[in-house]
């Protein structure tokens, strides 16, 4: 594992963000601000689509950077900085999900899974109803896609978001989610099959 506390070692680090983080470690506050600016919207996008609440996602985004700053002294640029920050992001998203699991379960049960509740696909049809005969409004498409992603298993959802938004490979996603690339391959395959099943009826009307 390479260490990068001295400037000479710092120059050996290939990842520019890891170099910035080493500067943060050395006390450079502007480097930290630069990192925040670079990653804030990327982290927010993953968190927002993973959690579904804008307000909570913003709070968690700030928490991610607070954790990055707090952990600066122990930072070792062994892996890409993005892998490290999205590992923190994934952990926080999991914690947030766990803390509100009960509340969420109750809400979903009342709305979706009872004998009188609509199935996910039916909900999508209902959402598309008013304009299904013609072209769907872009906001409606966005809502349908968002709902389809929200129906995915949380781990599938996180793998999809990291793959789609961050263009990360299976190995990197596996590192972030603390699993194997084979497990990620399986997660993503199931996720994409589920998404195809949920969104296929709308492929022709878009």
């Amino acid at each position: 594992m390479a260490t990068a506390d001295s400037p000479s070692k710092e120059s050996l680090i290939v990842d520019p963000d890891a170099r910035l983080m080493v500067q943060v470690k050395q006390g450079d506050e502007s480097a930290f601000e630069e990192l925040v600016e670079k990653y804030q919207n990327r982290v927010l996008a993953v968190l927002y689509n993973a959690i579904g609440s804008r307000e909570e996602a913003e709070d968690l985004t700030q928490d991610v950077f607070l954790r990055v700053f707090r952990a600066r002294h122990g930072y070792q640029p062994a892996a890409k900085f993005s892998t490290w920050i999205f590992t923190i992001t994934n952990n926080l998203a999991m914690n947030a999900r766990r803390s509100r699991k009960h509340r969420r379960t109750v809400a979903i049960e009342a709305r979706d899974s009872g004998p009188l509740g609509a199935r996910p696909q039916e909900q999508l049809v209902q959402a598309a109803g008013p304009t299904a005969s013609g072209q769907l409004q872009s906001s409606e498409v966005a809502e349908m896609v968002r709902e389809a992603v929200a129906k995915l298993d949380p781990r599938q959802r996180m793998a999809v978001l990291l793959n789609k938004f961050e263009d990360l490979g299976y190995a990197e996603i596996a590192q972030i989610m603390d699993t194997t690339p084979t497990a990620i391959k399986s997660l993503l395959s199931r996720a994409r099959t589920n998404l195809r099943e949920m969104l296929e009826p709308y492929l022709d009307v878009i």
Partner: protein
């Protein structure tokens, strides 16, 4: 599973990739499946990409500073109260140790003048009588002839049958032991 990995370019097995490629080219259903997967994947571009305010970074830094300040204040208060408590405990321990040491040394150094008198009270009370006796032989002699024997008194020589015939109990000292009868002046 392999089809998605093939689309993602994550198939490690080149031969398998080749076979899948051929299958996609030959089979209409597989081609449709691939197209559907690619289209739905493309639909994810519709997912929202919210943005944070431009001053988010500076807000975060400000929050870090305020947290650091608060942490330092809490740490400072903790240190202050820890020091005060430690000093108070040290002082209390010193005072207690001095009290114990003083009490112990006083107890060791100070001798109670009445203790010896109490220990030898019987001798002190009968001192004049004991001084009047010339020696132990004299005591043995008067004891043998029962010179000072009271009626019914039990002596060492009195048989057990006499003792049981209405004899009064021998006088006892403060410790409950029978005492020697002092000789008359």
């Amino acid at each position: 599973m392999n089809l998605v990995a093939f689309l993602d370019g994550e198939l490690a097995d080149d031969a398998l990739g080749q076979r899948l490629e051929e299958k996609v080219a030959q089979s209409v259903s597989v081609r449709k499946e691939v197209q559907a997967l690619e289209k739905t994947w493309g639909m994810l571009d519709w997912l929202p990409h919210p943005e944070l305010p431009v001053d988010f970074a500076s807000q975060t830094v400000t929050r870090i500073h305020s947290q650091q300040l608060r942490a330092e204040m809490i740490e400072g208060q903790f240190k202050y109260w820890t020091t005060v408590t430690a000093r108070a405990i040290a002082w209390a321990a010193c005072v207690a140790a001095m009290v114990v040491a003083g009490f112990a040394s006083l107890r060791y150094a100070w001798r109670d003048p009445t203790r010896e008198l109490i220990n030898h009270l019987e001798i002190v009370e009968n001192l004049e009588t004991y001084l009047a006796i010339p020696d132990v032989k004299f005591l043995d002699d008067i004891s043998r002839i029962n010179m000072f024997k009271e009626p019914g008194e039990v002596t060492a020589e009195t048989p057990a049958s006499e003792e049981s015939a209405g004899a009064a109990p021998a006088p006892q000292g403060p410790s409950g032991q029978p005492t020697a009868t002092p000789a008359p002046k």
